[in-house]
């Protein structure tokens, strides 16, 4: 092929700029990006820039959170132009009043409002907790590695059906199928905490996720109910949090068995309970998976009970530092369900529903709009 000298020179300059860390000026023939996305990125960027400015200048500044008056009606976007940033740390009254909407030189910024309750910048946890967008979106966090955790294994069979089917075998087979389906998308590295019939302590499962830089963690289990309730068939999905009913506590106790955590370890991980980002993402992931799993399985079994997507105190979910869910895909104690579970095609269907749920969640992350419930508004004030 022929390359023109001017193109070649342009390319060589580009390689030099890339390697010398010089910002690129030539963008070739790309289509302009989606303006909506650009706008959203602008919002995120300006929040980060403002926070950065505050810390760089080392000035003691306060964030004022207005929750005393409830939601305050504001223009959808306010604007700050460079000329209004004579003091970049202070956003003037005219900005609050939304007078700059028509300024053509304006750059967009989220709305800020003065208020009464004061928190310091150092205590920005509060701001992040009340942010009107998921924290993972704010920092534009990507999902690269998905860890699937087949429950139990080896000498720990987990729950057992009346016909002898074991939870450890079901969870492993579904996990393998799910791994294959997700890997085929070509978008994610998908790993299993165990790929054979062996005992893995909960602590090892957590360490595996950490060592492999997991971005999502999905633990697969099958439920078993007492004999008197063996006619029931539940499907339920958990993310870490307090238990909502006694049955959840019993299930958590069962799944936490042999955690291999010492009290000292547990104290350290319990300190992570307030991890806002993990909780909000785990909840979204649990909801997406549960929706697909329940609606999919209902077509096989009209009597299936929807036990919902909810919080539960599962050690494995607490230890993992990324969005994580535990799915009870089925009730092995129900004889008809046990028969279905013994068939590879049914397990393949379950893996397919799980995959669709996970991909739905990942797709939602890419396209979701700010969370509902109104904006939490902040104001930056210079402290004397």
């Amino acid at each position: 092929m022929h390359k023109s000298t001017s193109t070649k020179n342009k390319v060589l300059r580009g390689v030099y700029e890339d390697n010398a860390g010089i910002p690129r000026t030539d963008f070739g023939k790309r289509r302009p990006s989606n303006p909506k996305q650009q706008h959203a990125k602008g919002h995120k960027a300006i929040v980060i820039v403002l926070l950065g400015l505050l810390s760089v200048f080392g000035i003691n500044v306060r964030l004022t959170l207005d929750d005393s008056r409830g939601p305050v009606a504001m223009p959808a976007q306010n604007a700050i132009s460079p000329s209004h940033l004579t003091n970049p740390l202070f956003i003037s009254q005219e900005v609050w009043d939304g007078h700059l909407e028509n300024d053509p030189t304006a750059i967009t910024a989220p709305a800020y409002m003065p208020g009464n309750d004061i928190v310091t910048v150092g205590d920005y946890d509060a701001m992040l907790t009340g942010l009107d967008m998921p924290m993972a979106d704010l920092f534009d966090l990507k999902i690269g590695t998905i860890v699937i955790d087949p429950g139990h294994g080896g000498i720990d069979p987990g729950a057992m059906g009346h016909q002898g089917l074991k939870e450890k075998d079901i969870s492993l087979d579904i996990a393998r199928k799910l791994q294959d389906k997700l890997t085929r998308t070509g978008r994610y590295r998908v790993l299993l905490t165990r790929d054979e019939d062996r005992k893995v302590y909960l602590k090892e499962r957590v360490a595996f996720a950490k060592d492999n830089n997991a971005d999502l963690f999905i633990s697969i289990h099958a439920n078993a109910l007492p004999t008197e309730a063996s006619s029931l068939n539940y499907v339920e999905t958990y993310y870490f949090g307090p238990y909502s009913d006694k049955r959840t506590l019993e299930i958590a106790e069962k799944e936490n068995h042999d955690s291999d955590y010492a009290i000292g370890d547990f104290r350290k991980i319990i300190a992570k309970i307030g991890d806002t980002m993990k909780t909000e993402e785990s909840k979204d992931l649990a909801n997406a998976i549960h929706r697909k799993l329940y609606s999919g399985l209902k077509s096989h079994n009209q009597d299936l009970t929807d036990a919902g997507s909810k919080t539960g105190p599962f050690v494995v979910l607490l230890g993992v530092e990324v969005p994580s869910v535990l799915v009870e895909v089925s009730c092995i104690s129900n004889m008809a369900e046990e028969t279905r579970l013994s068939k590879p095609e049914y397990r393949d269907d379950i893996a397919d529903f799980l995959k669709t749920g996970i991909l739905d969640y990942l797709d939602q992350r890419e396209h979701r709009s700010p969370r509902e419930g109104g904006q939490i508004n902040y104001v930056f004030k210079q402290e004397k």
């Binding site: 390359k3 070649k8 390697n19 010398a20 590295r189």
Partner: protein, 331 residues
């Protein structure tokens, strides 16, 4: 000045130098586990097939597994440094020669590990640059405008649209269903169908490299594998086809998606200039398969390059040689 082009791949790493030397080595680096191993092997560090052969006595690293250096893995970073040093040695540099090195790395590694890789090279060369593998292939072929390069490697398949400049992040894409994935699928399929036979990942990788194909088979694929210690012939045509084709849907989807994001005026030109490089381009029937598979969208024309092993290193060498002196001085 000696110019050196290096293609640092997941599976193989290749060097091509302006003195005419061209060498390759499998991307394995191993350090003796203890003093006994060190004494037995008589070397501080081993590379490629020699490292694989003695893997039981070594701490073995395949540094760019999955196309990226794992964050915080010092052993992998050290392995890259050793591997670059070894490749420069293979290029047979005189002791007082000044050298300029251009290194092509998997696209994802360029995004994530650029600094770590530059640090690793800087202990061997002062004048250096790092680019993505598909870009170095494109440069070597002179395919700088309205062309898509697909580099099918072991850890990743890297896609890159060239449009007369160095590609931007949105011009590039990487997917993980690459050569290693085919090996895993083939091993699984063969183990399921012939549980009595002993297969290993290394064995199935060799079968794939020799017989890999997509689409209709030109001939039956027959291999010998041990059953209870005795070699037995197996027909693995169907398993080979299924394993190799398992990577195709993601490739087709990515091609269509990347082209759709390109300036509409130039999409047609790109569709007619899709070049496939990397070890995966050697799958028999690949051009026809992809051409057929994309027919349902807008027809695309795929061409596999003739020398996939050296194309990346040769392109990097050309880049190093062409780089103007005033730029080199500042790198």
């Amino acid at each position: 000045m000696l110019y050196i082009g290096i293609d640092l791949g997941t599976s193989r790493s290749v060097v091509s130098a302006s003195n005419g030397n061209r060498k390759w080595v499998e991307s394995y680096v191993g350090w003796p586990k203890d003093f006994v191993a060190k004494k037995m092997l008589g070397k501080r560090v081993l590379f490629g097939s020699e490292a694989l052969e003695h893997r039981l006595a070594l701490n073995l690293s395949r540094p760019l597994q999955n196309g990226v250096l794992k964050e915080g893995t010092e052993q992998d970073e050290a392995a890259v440094e050793e591997l670059i040093g070894h490749l420069i040695e293979l290029a047979d540099v005189g002791t007082d020669s000044e050298i300029c090195v251009a290194v092509g790395v998997p696209a994802e590694a360029l995004k994530v590990n650029k600094i770590a890789i530059k640090n690793a090279i800087s202990s061997h060369a002062k004048k250096l640059m790092v680019v993505s593998e598909p870009f170095s292939v494109a440069y070597g072929l002179g395919a700088l405008d309205n062309t898509m390069i697909i580099d099918i490697g072991a850890g990743t398949v890297d896609f890159c649209i060239m449009h007369g400049t160095v590609p931007l992040e949105e011009d590039q894409r990487s997917i993980l269903t690459a050569g290693d994935y085919i090996d895993e699928q083939l091993l699984r399929l063969l183990s399921e169908k012939h549980p009595e036979a002993d297969f290993s990942l290394n064995m199935v990788r060799k079968y794939k490299e020799k017989h890999g194909f997509v689409g209709d088979p030109k001939r039956r694929v027959k291999i010998d594998a041990p059953v209870d210690g005795k070699f037995t012939e197996f027909d693995i045509t169907e398993e080979m086809r299924r394993a190799c084709e398992s990577t195709m849907p993601a490739i087709v989807e990515t091609v269509i998606d990347l082209i759709a994001g390109f300036d509409p005026e130039f999409q047609e030109s790109v569709r007619k200039n899709i070049i496939i490089a990397g070890g995966g381009s050697q799958l028999s029937g690949l051009e026809n398969y992809l051409t057929e598979a994309t027919k349902q969208f807008e027809p695309c024309t795929f061409t596999c390059i003739s020398d996939p092993l050296y194309a990346g290193a040769d392109g990097a060498l050309e880049l190093a040689t062409d780089m103007p002196e005033e730029f080199l001085e500042k790198l």
